[in-house]
Structure formats: structure tokens, C-alpha cells
Symmetry: C2
Subunit: 354 residues, 2 copies
């Protein structure tokens, strides 16, 4: 009864969302602060009668708001049901087994190989530097590929490439192959590479409202790039589901993007808490990769990542453990509120000392 | 820069959603009544802080509510971002070019061939009876197919198959091929074939909250069937986007399903208005296909559907015109409130008389 494709799928496993017990959740990179108060005001007074009508299939107002924020025309913006859906559409539109494998970092967002499986796209994991940062040179030696994708900052490592490095990179890769920079975590100290899309027609930037805008529960993501790339994404959307963004999500996302001060304030608080946490961890002899994200990737000598994850879970705190070869010793820890991080640090200290 | 697949796509064209002028919209089968007042109460008091967290990826509570309503276990229910997304996942999971074409009615939901294009599934349009109803016999003579899909009531014709006819049909088709009944319009006088899913492991029923629950703006659809079919849909979802349903949509949909009295009252009002409209149209010498949906499919001798559509649009009323061969003379008219239909009937009368 099933398609051949189905039998070959290996689905993505999202981070745990346990319903049975209250945990301190530092495992899915959610924002510890609530979304903009404008979202609450909007929902408190929303005219639910309008929900009987279909939403705008093109999310025009939301795309204009995003365009205004980034100083782009709305025709250079595509919106979707979380950046996961946006990425899925990108994989369909731009990558193709006939053009060679898709390249992405050895340790990266684990949905990338899943999309490749879904659309039958071959891929090649590109080795990272010994410090687990992305090696630009390792891509530019490749000659045959259908495209490139990497997060910046990278997940789960947190390491970051400067815009100048990305510009050099873009000059060296094939101009007829799409390069996607997944900037889910860009607002925690990094600088978006959006300034490069005028220079490179093959560059697409993907962002989400799930992290820095505290709207993981609302599922809104977007892509920005040359109009021709955006138009391809619209063709894919309209061949899959004309209305992926509901009316409440479109309007709430718009208000969250417009509330710039609130967003900046929250992002700074998270950066500050990250710096505090990193300093404390180092003083306790944990290794912490340099992070520009709202999470850190850490390990301690002679401790396996699995033990750290399980021990903390038993004590009511969730972190993310991947267990992939080369990063088995690490766990990824989301930056929560200061008091969450203090609890986390205390736990580490009482369990493993310095 | 594009994949080969992309170049071959022909996207779906949704009904017009004009933003520039106020129309009486009888073109996209929306419900003229607002969603359940419980939806408003919920949104008025929703704790927006929880939107910072990811929603339940499995929509467990919503699936339980739907299961309770239909007297099924939640493991026999799958939810998605509108029945369009649910259908898209079904096409991926169950249909396959290696198993032969997908069969669907000659005149049917125009997204079906689009999904086939998206996933590279061959299809065969099965001829309808001369009265434009679905011919069950025309399917059972086919020997080689990967699956079957049809809406019941059918769109855009509105014609309906009784459960007993569907049961006979299911006995005759291959038991190792999935049959999907798209019941988007079942609540306007028809009876769901849900009682058959215990008898046929290969039967999947798809419904939506966009029509009878007045929630087109919220994008929630669902599928019901054997656990093995539902588990296949979960695999597809988790390989595409783990969280297709946002938190507000999950909770509001739950409340709308639970408010049974309100839903029944609205559906009866629409059925009554449909019967009123059909009677009036017939007295004005319009041909009306028998409809069990919240729309009717109509034509008048010596009038082209295109002229009817364009004339009404100029006068501020939108209906849907398809223009496909064999149904060029028809327009599809959504059943609105009584006063909308009176306006519509007056327009027809003053323009084309009896």
C-alpha cells in the first residue's frame, strides 16, 4: 500500500517535548522570554469572525513588514510554516541529483539529511576544522555539487562566520548553484549576510521567528533572496499547499517583527546570560565552543555526553544530546533565563565539581 | 540554479481573494457564519507566553478530540496544516509511479493533478456519468493503479455517493491500494464513510475544519484510517516539517470540534439556504446539479460559464469558473447567508431573466 519513497524515509527526531513531568527545558533552543506584548494585544482583540475566510495565500502584509525591516522589496521575501517548511521547499526547488550532491557541514542541523532523503537528493558532509568551526576552504575544493547549505551560526556547535568570510566564500563557489545560509540563530550577536544578496543572485538567507522573536509555537519562517529564487519557492508552495500560513500567524508575526526594541532587548539579555554562563563553565573546567547563538555546545574531560544528558534529565533539567560520531562528548545547552542557568551551573557543580 | 522537478511544476490556482474591492464572495466555499464562540473565548484569554515554546509536534489533544468525536482511537487520526497538506502527505506516502497511475474523477478537485506533478505520480482521469456524477463502475474496470482518490460530495459538481455505494466500491477495488475519500464537504447533508474504516484497511477519510467549522483562516485538516496508514503519514510529516500545526490552531480546532451543537446548527442553516437557492434557480430555468455540499454547480442554456462569471464579478459578486472541457458552461456558487443568495438570485434575474 505504500510508495517506494516512503519505505526509504528516516524521519527527523525533534528535541523532547515531555508532557508528563515539568523540566527546566534547555534542549530545544526556545526563547525564555515571551513574545512581544503586541502579540498578546492582537489576540485579545482579534475578530475571530474573519477566521471563516481563507488567509491571504501570499502573506503579502507580512512579507512587506519583513521587507521593510531588511530594506528589501516584498518580492524578495518568501514566508512559510516555520523555517523547517521554508527549508523543505528550498530543497525541492534548488537541489537535484542530476547536478551532484548537496554539501553541508559534517555536524549541522540534522534535518538537512532528512530533507535529502525525502526528495532523493544525494549529499556530502564536508569536514570541519579541528575546533569544530566551518572550514570554508573544504567547500571551495569541491567541483561538483547541486548546492550548499549551512547554518550561521552553525547548529549544534554555535560557531559563526563573519559576513566578510561569507563574501569570500560566495566568490569562490559556482555562481549557478544556490547557497542557503540558515540564519535561525543570527540575532544573538551575529550579523546577517543579507547585505550580500544584491551581489550574489544565488544566495538565499533563511530566518525564523521561533528563536529571537519567541514564537516557536506559531510556526513562521522566511527566506530572502533574488526575486527569481523567491518566485521558485512560490511555485513549490503553490504545488504543495496554497495557504501554509494561517491568519493569526501572519498577523502576529507581523507585529513581532515590528516590535524592534522589544526583540533587541530580549536578544541582549540572552547574550549577556550566555556570556555569564560561558565564563562560569570555563571556571568549572568545561570546554565551551565559541557561540554566537542562544545555545552553547559543551563538554568536560572524561565525561561522555550521554552521561551528562541522562544525569541532568534525572535531576529535572533537559539538554540536547546528539551522540553523532565526533561530537559524542558534547551536549547542547539552550541559554534560558539567568536563574535557569544558575540552577544548571549548580547542578553541574554539585554533580561533577570543578 | 533550479531542480529539474521545479521546471515541470504547474501550481494550483486558488480561488480569487481580492484585496482591492469588496465583493460578495461566493467563490471559495467558505462558511458564511463565524467559527464557534468558544474559539473567540479561547483567543481572548490565551496565554501568549506559551507561544515561546514549540507546539506539541503530534497534536495529541486535538487528535484525541477528533477521535472522541468519531469514536476512534487517536492513533487512527492524523492532523495537518489544512486538508491540502494532509492530502499532499497522502500522495507522497501511498502513490507511486511503479504501481501504476492514481485514479480520480474527470472533473474533481484541481489540486489532485498538481500533487501528482509535485511528486511525479502518473494519473488517469476517470470518465463521469453523463449527469456528471461519479461512475463507480468506471473505476472497477481498471486493473492497474497505485490508488484512488475522490471527493464525496465531489467538487466542483456537488454530487454525492451513499455509504452503501462506497462499500460496494471498496469490495471491488484492489485491497492493496489505498483509497482516499476527501470529505471536505461531507457535513452539508452527506454521511461520512468513516464507518467503513474498520472493514477496509486501505480506506482513508480526509476532512477539514475550513468548511463546516468555519475555520478556513486557521488551516487545520485531518485524516482517519487504519493505524498503519496513519503511521505512514506521521513518517512523511516528520521528514518534511515536525511541527506543521501551531499552538493556537491546535487549541482552537479542538474547541471547534467539541462545539457540536453550534456546528450542526450552522450546517442546517446552510442546507436550508441551499434548498431555497436551488428551488429559486430552477424556477428561473437554471440547471442545478444535485448538491450535498455548501456550493452548487449551475448553468443556463445558451450562456457560457465565463460570461456568467465575468458579468457577476463586474457587479460585485464572485463565483468560481473553471473553464475545463466538459464543464465550460458551469459556474460553482458557494452557499452564503440567505441575504447573499437573494442578492445573487436578483442579479441573475435582472441580468438574464427567466
Amino acid at each position: 500500500m505504500f510508495s517506494k519513497k516512503l519505505k526509504q524515509l528516516t524521519p527527523y527526531t525533534p528535541g523532547e517535548q515531555p508532557q508528563n513531568r515539568k523540566y527546566i527545558k534547555l534542549n530545544t533552543n526556545e526563547n525564555p522570554y515571551p513574545p512581544s506584548p503586541e502579540v498578546k494585544k492582537y489576540l485579545d482583540s482579534v475578530d475571530t469572525d474573519t477566521l471563516k475566510l481563507y488567509p491571504d495565500p501570499g502573506s503579502q502584509e507580512l512579507r512587506e513588514t519583513i521587507g521593510n525591516y531588511f530594506n528589501l522589496s516584498s518580492s524578495m521575501v518568501f514566508t512559510g510554516n516555520g523555517s523547517d517548511e521554508v527549508l523543505s521547499f528550498c530543497f525541492y526547488a534548488f537541489f537535484d541529483k542530476d547536478n551532484g550532491p548537496l554539501l553541508f557541514p559534517e555536524h549541522s542541523y540534522s534535518f538537512y539529511p532528512v530533507y535529502c532523503g525525502f526528495y532523493d537528493i544525494p549529499f556530502k558532509r564536508i569536514p570541519m576544522k579541528s575546533d569544530l568551526s566551518i572550514s570554508v576552504d573544504a567547500y571551495t575544493v569541491e567541483t561538483d555539487y547541486s548546492g550548499i547549505i549551512f547554518p550561521n551560526p552553525n547548529a549544534p556547535t554555535g560557531t559563526y562566520l563573519e559576513t566578510a568570510e561569507i563574501e569570500q566564500f560566495m566568490k569562490k563557489v559556482h555562481s549557478n548553484r544556490v547557497v542557503i545560509i540558515d540564519e535561525a540563530y543570527i540575532d544573538f550577536g551575529g550579523k546577517s549576510a543579507i547585505s550580500l544578496i544584491d551581489k550574489f543572485d544565488n544566495l538565499l538567507i533563511v530566518q525564523t521567528l521561533s528563536k529571537s522573536r519567541s514564537l516557536a509555537g506559531l510556526r513562521v519562517g522566511f527566506a530572502m533572496g533574488n526575486e527569481i529564487l523567491i518566485s521558485a519557492l512560490n511555485t513549490v508552495k503553490d504545488s504543495f499547499n496554497s495557504y501554509p500560513l494561517d491568519k493569526l500567524a501572519q498577523n502576529a508575526a507581523k507585529l513581532a517583527i515590528e516590535d524592534i526594541d522589544y526583540f533587541k532587548e530580549n536578544s541582549s539579555k540572552i547574550i549577556k546570560t550566555r556570556e555569564f554562563t560561558v565564563k562560569a563553565l570555563k571556571s568549572m573546567n568545561w570546554e565551551v565552543l565559541p557561540s554566537m547563538a542562544n545555545f552553547i555546545f559543551i563538554r568536560k574531560k572524561e565525561l561522555s555526553g550521554k552521561i551528562v544528558y541522562e544525569t541532568l534529565k534525572n535531576k529535572g533539567l533537559l539538554v540536547r544530546y546528539f551522540g553523532h560520531k565526533g561530537i559524542e562528548d558534547f551536549v547542547r545547552v539552550t541559554i534560558g533565563k539567568r536563574k535557569d542557568m544558575e540552577f544548571f551551573l549548580d547542578l553541574l557543580n554539585t554533580t561533577w565539581g570543578k
